[in-house]
């Protein structure tokens, strides 16, 4: 056990494919590293660095009654164990019933999307790696910010992390694809010394060089000042300004619920009564587009399918399939549902696999949806408000009724009342019951699209760009005492 372990992930892919005896085989090798810092009440609470190496082998046994897939994923595999993992996957394939999503594997002749071709580019270079040094300057700046906050009778809480995953995907059909995904974020929560006022902000970052922690704290300090006047409001339906982070959390849930398989089965908000899906149906009169694009500026993500397991709308048989810019909602109409080749076939829709980023933008005449030309900023939307609630973010969002995609959740860390273009004070928190699909039909105004960190779903999905929106009659179902 003391032998130096390890070989490069590219070599692990090749060795596993060479060892394969099954009809087809897909191998995914991933190198993951991460570093994080967490703080509360102006002091450090936890921290850590971690690294891992994962090998996933998908053995495909094509029998007369259909193809079966056996999948084994193991961490820390040593070179001499690679063949063992392959055999385990082959054994699992031999035991498994035929897979309903069986398809031919994408071949080496498949165009890699957006210029990434098989075996070209940086396939051969070493995997990326992050370590605690990425956070060294940030930690020093944060330490100073924590001391200043303490001196000003504010308490700061938050979290910063940086992760890097290098993924190498190879198949017996000749695919060799690689993707490096850096992902970082910082979240900052400021509370008044007596804990009665609270504000939050967050930012996604790829490398922490663009994070201004003192600037983030200054913004929160202003919001705590807004909250020095408190206003009690009852539950009810309010005109509400949702900032980009709140919009992202609602749109991400909508996106997750926009699978082709369940829609075709009649069990989602996107099912058409009597059969089929609602693709093509107008959801809002606002000319908004909800889309994903692996090459979106600042939001780049894997440009090919990486599937460790099959599900309703994902398939291990699709591994390596190229991903292209996809509009889920175009000019206010439902345009696509995410799918595997199998579920797209069941639903009678084009193949549009899920992509790991999301952008909502409004189109103005003569301008590209994301240009921002002629579209108001958040500040301009506040300035043009007669009376509305201004939220900071949403929290604990859960599905209540899939028929209409009714979601419940809470407002958190700052609800403000805007009157005659000015923030006049902080309002109590509310529990909301709203459908993001229904909400699209009640959009009064859509602002400029900006990068944002989803407060609720940022752990799983943190590449998003969203506008602020003004919604008519947002349903605040009850008052929350939390502050």
């Amino acid at each position: 056990m003391n032998a130096v372990s390890g070989c490069s992930p590219q070599e692990a892919v090749e060795r596993a494919l060479a060892a394969s005896r099954s009809d087809d085989c897909v191998v995914i090798a991933e190198e993951t590293s991460g570093a994080n810092l967490r703080w509360a009440g102006n002091t450090l609470t936890t921290n850590g660095v971690s690294s891992s190496r994962q090998l996933t082998v998908i053995a495909i046994d094509r029998r007369a009654e259909g193809a079966s897939a056996g999948i084994v994923s193991r961490a820390g595999v040593r070179p001499e164990q690679i063949e063992e993992v392959v055999r385990e996957a082959e054994h699992a394939a031999g035991e498994a019933a035929p897979a309903e999503d069986a398809e031919p594997l994408p071949g080496a002749g498949t165009d890699g999307s957006f210029g990434i071709k098989n075996g070209e580019g940086h396939w051969g270079s070493p995997p990326g790696r992050t370590e605690i040094g990425v956070l060294r300057d940030f930690a020093a700046a944060l330490g100073e910010t924590l001391r200043e906050a303490a001196a000003a009778d504010r308490k700061l809480y938050g979290f910063a992390e940086h992760n890097l995953v290098s993924t190498f995907l190879g198949s017996s059909g000749g695919l060799r694809l690689r993707h490096d995904q850096p992902a970082g974020r910082v979240e900052l929560n400021a509370k008044s010394g007596d804990m009665t006022r609270s504000a939050w902000t967050g930012a996604a970052t790829r490398d922490f060089t663009d994070v201004d922690i003192a600037g983030l704290d200054a913004g929160l300090s202003e919001r705590l000042d807004w909250a020095k006047r408190s206003i009690s409001l009852p539950p009810g339906r309010y005109e509400t300004l949702l900032p980009p982070t709140a919009v992202s959390d609602l749109m991400i849930y909508l996106y997750w619920s926009a699978g082709a398989r369940d829609a075709a089965d009649g069990r989602t908000v996107f099912s058409k009564p009597g059969g089929g899906t609602r693709v093509g149906e107008q959801l809002t009169t606002q000319p908004v587009t909800l889309s994903s694009d692996p090459l979106a500026a600042g939001l780049r993500c894997a440009p090919f399918v990486i599937a460790h397991a099959s599900g309703p709308d994902s398939s291990v048989f699709d591994n390596g399939l190229p991903l292209r810019s996809t509009a889920w909602i175009a000019d206010g109409a439902l345009a696509a549902l995410h799918s595997s080749r199998h579920s797209a076939n069941l639903a009678g829709l084009p193949v549009t696999p899920a992509i790991d980023n999301l952008v909502l933008a409004v189109r103005t005449p003569g301008a590209a949806p994301t240009s921002g030309a002629g579209v108001p900023t958040m500040e301009e939307m506040i300035a043009s408000t007669g009376r509305a609630l201004l939220l900071t973010c949403l929290w604990y969002i859960r599905e209540v009724d899939p028929q209409v995609l009714l979601l419940t959740g809470l407002t958190r860390d700052g609800v403000y009342l805007v009157e005659d273009g000015e923030v006049v004070g902080a309002v109590n928190n509310f529990r909301f019951n709203e459908s993001p699909v229904g909400m699209l039909g009640r959009l009064l105004e859509v602002g400029v699209t900006v990068p944002t960190l989803p407060r609720e779903w940022g752990d799983y999905f943190n590449r998003a760009a969203m506008p602020a929106v003004r919604v008519e009659g947002f349903n605040m179902s009850s008052v929350s005492q939390a502050s």
């Binding site: 850590g48 992390e161 397991a309 752990d459 009850s478």
Partner: protein, 511 residues
């Protein structure tokens, strides 16, 4: 070696995964702890883990998901000049263990710039070389995938035979968790097995309405015997599921208002989890989770004074319940598992602790709630099995509780849940809702959600059922912390009668 911590065992005593015990666990720990001390760490602890997992999913009886995972790694945690440092690596070699110790010390040095509170740990006796294994009969990883898929297929096909059932989802998650912990005074080798079988039937009407109904069987720290008749009668539950679903699809929608509720343990466990379990975590009450999961209204200044609920409310925390998902012999800080009171006669009397917070708040000793969901994460204070105790033997049956309601609703099974960041305002739905009229069930209702404030809700609890109504519910994946971690946890409770709870009509909420 000594045996575990009073954990009872069934029939043949399960053995710890021999591939795990064959690892040079003590050599790895020695390399890490020696290196950490040489670098000046005031405290160091070591974990090595192997987590075997398998997910099986079927859609309408056809295999959709089959995924086997085998995660291993080691972790070193140090206190260096009063600051935590943590590092983990995947390679199980003495070189890697020593390297992890060096990295942990380096992390502590970087993080020292933002630390103002020196870390001190509550004392805990050393236990020497100990082992502990959870109670189960058949390791699910010894059962063939073919047999598991065949059973789930058989159940799915049986459900699909019913005219009302349009689709069936079936899933089975299984975990075998092996941990080795060492701090120089204790070396604990432990193994837990758990599984979560779920079947969901879907009905789709011609007019586009649809509804679902899921089995009520909770996840359990049991072996494969759980699927073959020990601990749950799946055959009986599946036999009644289609008719229940058919009746639910055509049931009248609920009229919003205030109702008396009889809540089955299959639903109440989740309300306990959210409104009591998380609220009595001391790290939350102290603000450690303020920027993420949130804090708690049950702050330490209220200990012994806060009226949490009615006088029939007795809630305990434990890491010892047989088949409890949070049960273990020793936690991830080497603390022997215990049980204790959290709420006594409706008054807050305790918290869930780890060693740092126990020391900081003067509790003297941790009650053993430190847990990490894998070798790549630092241990946090995580939830024990938090359970509402039943009435003494001879206490009311569920029918007795229902008979005391004039106009109310009987709720079974969990579904949607949400609670605010201080654990005041919550909203839950369920799987099955039966109207209660004049003390008797009078058919199902649809579109029901209950909404309340924690102390009002528990203050309205008039009665709890007897031991015969008690069930250990729970979840595989309670989330907390940043980076996010999941934890398995159980909650036992009896049926309960609560008066005057607000009921929403979810269709009206969406309009």
């Amino acid at each position: 070696m000594t045996a575990g911590n009073g954990q009872s065992r069934e029939s043949a005593e399960p053995a710890i995964d021999p591939e795990f015990t064959a690892l040079p666990l003590r050599d790895l720990a020695d390399a890490a702890l020696t290196q950490a001390r040489a670098l000046g760490a005031q405290h160091a602890d070591f974990r090595a883990e192997r987590l075997r997992g398998q997910r099986i999913g079927l859609s309408d009886g056809a295999l959709q998901t089959l995924f086997d995972a085998d995660d291993t790694g080691l972790a070193v945690r140090v206190i260096m000049d009063g600051t935590w440092g943590f590092a983990s690596v995947v390679d199980l070699t003495t070189d890697a263990a020593a390297q992890a110790a060096r990295q942990a010390v380096e992390v502590a040095k970087v993080a020292a710039a933002m630390n103002t509170e020196p870390i001190e740990l509550a004392p805990e006796p050393g236990y020497g070389d100990v082992t502990w294994v959870s109670a189960y009969q058949t390791d699910p990883f010894t059962v063939s995938v073919a047999d598991k898929v065949a059973l789930l297929t058989e159940w799915s096909v049986a459900l699909l035979r019913h005219d009302a059932v349009s689709h069936v989802d079936a899933s089975l998650q299984q975990v075998r968790e092996c941990k080795f912990y060492a701090d120089g005074a204790t070396a604990a080798t432990q193994q837990r097995v758990r599984l979560s079988p779920v079947l969901t039937a879907v009905a789709v009407a011609d007019d586009g309405r649809f509804d679902t109904m899921r089995t009520l069987a909770p996840p359990a720290a049991r072996g494969y015997e759980y699927l073959t008749g020990t601990g749950w009668d799946f055959e009986a539950e599946l036999a009644e599921l289609p008719d229940l679903l058919a009746a639910k699809l055509i049931a009248p929608t609920v009229q919003a208002g205030h109702y008396d509720l009889v809540i089955d343990p299959s639903n109440l466990w989740l309300t306990i989890h959210e409104s009591i379990g998380h609220a009595t975590e001391l790290d939350r009450a102290l603000g450690y989770e303020a920027a993420y999961a949130g804090t708690s209204f049950a702050t330490p200044d209220k200990l012994g004074r806060l009226k949490y609920g009615s006088g029939v409310m007795h809630v305990t925390g434990d890491r010892t319940a047989e088949h409890g998902l949070a049960s273990i012999g020793y936690d991830d800080e080497g603390v022997a598992s215990q049980s204790w009171d959290l709420i006594s006669a409706g008054v807050l009397t305790g918290y869930q602790l780890d060693r740092r917070m126990a020391q900081r708040c003067g509790f003297g000793r941790s009650n053993g709630c430190a847990f990490s969901d894998g070798p790549n994460h630092i241990p946090l204070q995580r939830m024990a099995n938090v359970s509402l105790q039943p009435a003494p033997a001879g206490g009311p049956s569920t029918d007795d509780l229902i008979s005391g309601v004039e106009d109310g609703i009987y709720i079974l099974g969990d579904k949607s849940w949400s609670i605010d960041m201080q654990r005041y305002n919550f909203q839950f739905t369920g799987q099955r809702f039966f109207k209660i009229q004049s003390g008797k069930l009078a058919g199902q209702l649809r579109d029901v959600a209950y909404q309340a404030t924690t102390t009002d809700f528990w203050g309205s609890m008039e009665a709890v059922g007897g031991p015969q109504t008690y069930l250990l519910g729970g979840a595989f994946n309670c989330g907390k912390g940043q980076p996010g971690q999941i934890a398995p946890v159980s909650h036992g409770c009896p049926a309960a009668l609560l008066r005057g709870i607000r009921i929403l009509n979810t269709v009206e909420e969406a309009q």
